[in-house]
């Protein structure tokens, strides 16, 4: 079960984050009956560095970015899931698909690839590494298992965070789900969080969080 909690609502933005958390909890049918194996999402309005410190251990961090949930309840926006090699989405993908299934929305998987030397094709998929092709295969399997529609957006772009945000905007996504990365500061997730106007769920990948 997915459990949604939020931080103090002692400021106006905090109150909006509480409202967003309330909407998400209701949409995911969260209840107060919790168990040790629950997946916990901590909703915060704070900047990513402060929110990370406030985030309880083992919880995933959702930066609600001044959203109060009213927009989401009116629109069925898909979830943006950036992917690369297997380790970049190992924990993010299952959670993204679970959320998509429960919210009744689709997944937009986005990826940037470098151009292969000597390959003239303009089709980005032709420039995938074998590892990325394997990742895509796994994502398609997951989509089939969860029964969630999966759309692919692949570009040959040199800058990952900017591409992820633009792709999420173009696809009208309501949430971006990314893994934290191996470092806290300067990771793609943090760079995306710094610029995105769309709420972002930074998935805890220390292995302690329940999936």
């Amino acid at each position: 079960m997915i459990r949604v909690i939020n931080d103090s609502n002692r400021t106006q933005p905090g109150r909006m984050a509480s409202s967003y958390a309330a909407w998400l909890g209701k949409a995911l049918d969260s209840t107060s009956q919790t168990t040790d194996s629950d997946t916990t999402i901590f909703v915060s309005h704070l900047p990513v560095a402060e929110a990370t410190k406030a985030c309880p251990p083992g919880a995933h961090l959702l930066l609600s970015l001044q959203e109060d949930g009213h927009r989401q309840s009116a629109q069925k926006n898909p979830i943006c899931l950036p992917f690369g090699s297997r380790r970049s989405y190992k924990f993010a993908a299952p959670l993204a698909f679970r959320l998509a299934k429960q919210l009744g929305v689709g997944i937009v998987a986005v990826h940037t690839t470098y151009r292969k030397n000597g390959l003239s094709s303009e089709t980005p998929e032709d420039h995938f590494t074998p590892e990325t092709q394997e990742s895509l295969k796994l994502l398609r399997q997951m989509a089939a298992e969860f029964g969630v529609p999966l759309t692919l957006d692949v570009q040959m772009a040199s800058e990952i965070p900017g591409f992820v945000v633009r792709a999420a905007i173009i696809a009208d996504c309501g949430l971006i789900v990314m893994e934290r990365g191996r470092v806290l500061y300067g990771s793609n997730a943090e760079l995306v969080a710094a610029g995105t106007p769309i709420p972002i769920l930074i998935v805890n990948n220390d292995g302690k969080a329940a999936q």
Partner: protein, 421 residues
């Protein structure tokens, strides 16, 4: 359309050169033939065609001007097109009224008594009916008829190219050429009806019909240009759609001022202020998201081919929120109560709009009924202790809601140290 890469038959310059050429050829033929057969009507029409070259040349010049970039003109000189089409519409309107006036004079001339009566009251110009030598009727029909058909064909070409290239002035000039051809055809029909079938009023009745057609075309050309020059908005429905689209974008809290108008015929402009709490680091992508949805809607506006969008951001207005914690004093410390009737003190919390500083807190002794206090002090939320969040709270009212505090210790609940009570 990039005229450099357009095919020749889609080039606005080619279309106007064709129009100018047909005016020149017709003018020469009519003036020469008209002079040869002593027909003032044909000669006059020839000079009219000669004069039509001038607006066509001006339109061609206007098309060239509007495509250039001019320093100091952010919208280039696209509005030149509106001025030209306004002028063409006005000219056409004048032509329509002139045709109608001529037809009116002609009708009056058919009733000599009425004609005399009116002329005694107001001075009217002399009306000269057209008389054609019966032997020249059919050659005249051939010349004028051919001229009319050429006008109509060239007009269709101008209008088609004008729509493809997005040049409203060219389209307007094409419509003007079309009315010329229509006037020639109808005039010719009138002459045939009068000369061949002796229906005296036919020419003038047809003249009124032509007047209606010409005035309608003139208005079709004139009005949109006037709207563009006066910067009329694109319409309530367009602006409502733009606001709805903007509100659907993540990060937008509200829309502020909104102005929409055209520059020229084909450029739709939107100036919008958006209210957002997002910090400046996110404005670049927020602007990207807004421009996408606004551009999509603007391109649906009739004749719009280009858009200009300007978005300004502003913070939401101060919207102070006051919460009050219903408290009592236990062992010298404030404790949040579960029941409003048990409250002897209140902890007033004015929430900050942002995270730049702490919200302001102060405690007071409660001397009146708590709900009276709340009304007097414009309290929006009363917080009561509920150890289990599932425990019900009292029913709120329109301007007052209740919230639960899971801890009875206000310092723990608020996360900030308070001044000792």
């Amino acid at each position: 359309m990039n005229t450099a890469t357009a095919k020749w038959h889609q080039s606005p310059y080619v279309a106007e050169i064709v129009a100018i050429s047909q005016y020149a050829i017709k003018a020469i033929l009519k003036i020469v033939i008209g002079g040869a057969i002593a027909s003032s009507m044909i000669k006059g029409d020839g000079f009219h065609n000669l004069a039509d070259i001038v607006p066509a040349a001006i339109v061609m010049f206007g098309i060239w001007i509007k495509r250039r970039k001019w320093k100091g003109y952010p919208f280039q000189l696209k509005e030149v097109e509106s001025v030209l089409t306004l002028a063409i519409g006005a000219l056409l309107g004048f032509t329509g009224f002139k045709i109608g006036w001529g037809s009116l004079l002609g009708c009056i001339s058919l009733m000599p008594a009425v004609d005399t009566f009116i002329r005694n009251a107001i001075p009217l110009p002399v009306h000269e009916a057209v008389h054609i030598n019966a032997k020249l009727l059919w050659p005249l029909v051939g010349l004028m008829g051919g001229s009319a058909i050429v006008s109509l064909v060239v007009a269709r070409f101008q209008i088609h190219v004008g729509k493809v290239s997005g040049d409203a002035a060219l389209t307007a000039d094409g419509k003007e050429t079309m009315t010329d051809g229509s006037v020639e055809l109808v005039g010719l029909l009138g002459v045939i009806l009068v000369q061949r079938f002796h229906i005296a009023a036919a020419e003038y009745i047809l003249g009124f019909v032509v007047m209606g057609f010409v005035l309608h075309t003139a208005w079709e050309i004139f009005k949109p240009s006037l709207d563009a020059i006066l910067k009329r908005s694109l319409g309530d429905d367009v602006e409502a759609d733009l606001r709805t689209a903007a509100l659907a974008v993540h990060g937008v809290e509200a829309t502020g001022t909104l102005f929409t108008f055209r520059v020229g015929r084909t450029t739709a402009v939107c100036l919008m202020t958006v209210v957002t709490r997002l910090d400046a680091n996110r404005h670049a992508f927020l602007r990207f998201a807004l421009q996408r949805v606004i551009e999509k809607r603007l391109l649906e506006v009739e004749d719009a081919r280009e858009v200009e969008i300007r978005i300004d951001f502003e913070e939401p207005p101060e919207n102070p929120h006051r919460s009050v914690y219903a408290c009592e004093v236990v062992d010298g410390r404030l404790r949040i109560v579960s029941d409003l009737d048990d409250a002897t003190h209140v902890l007033i919390c004015d929430l900050r709009q942002d995270d730049t500083g702490r919200s302001r807190f102060r405690s007071e002794i409660l001397l009146t009924d708590p709900l009276e206090f709340a009304k007097e002090r414009k309290v929006q939320t009363i917080v009561l202790h509920r150890p289990d969040p599932a425990d019900p709270l009292p029913e709120g009212e329109a301007d007052l809601t209740y919230e639960a505090a899971t801890s009875s210790d206000p310092e723990l609940e608020l996360g900030v140290p308070l001044f000792p009570h």
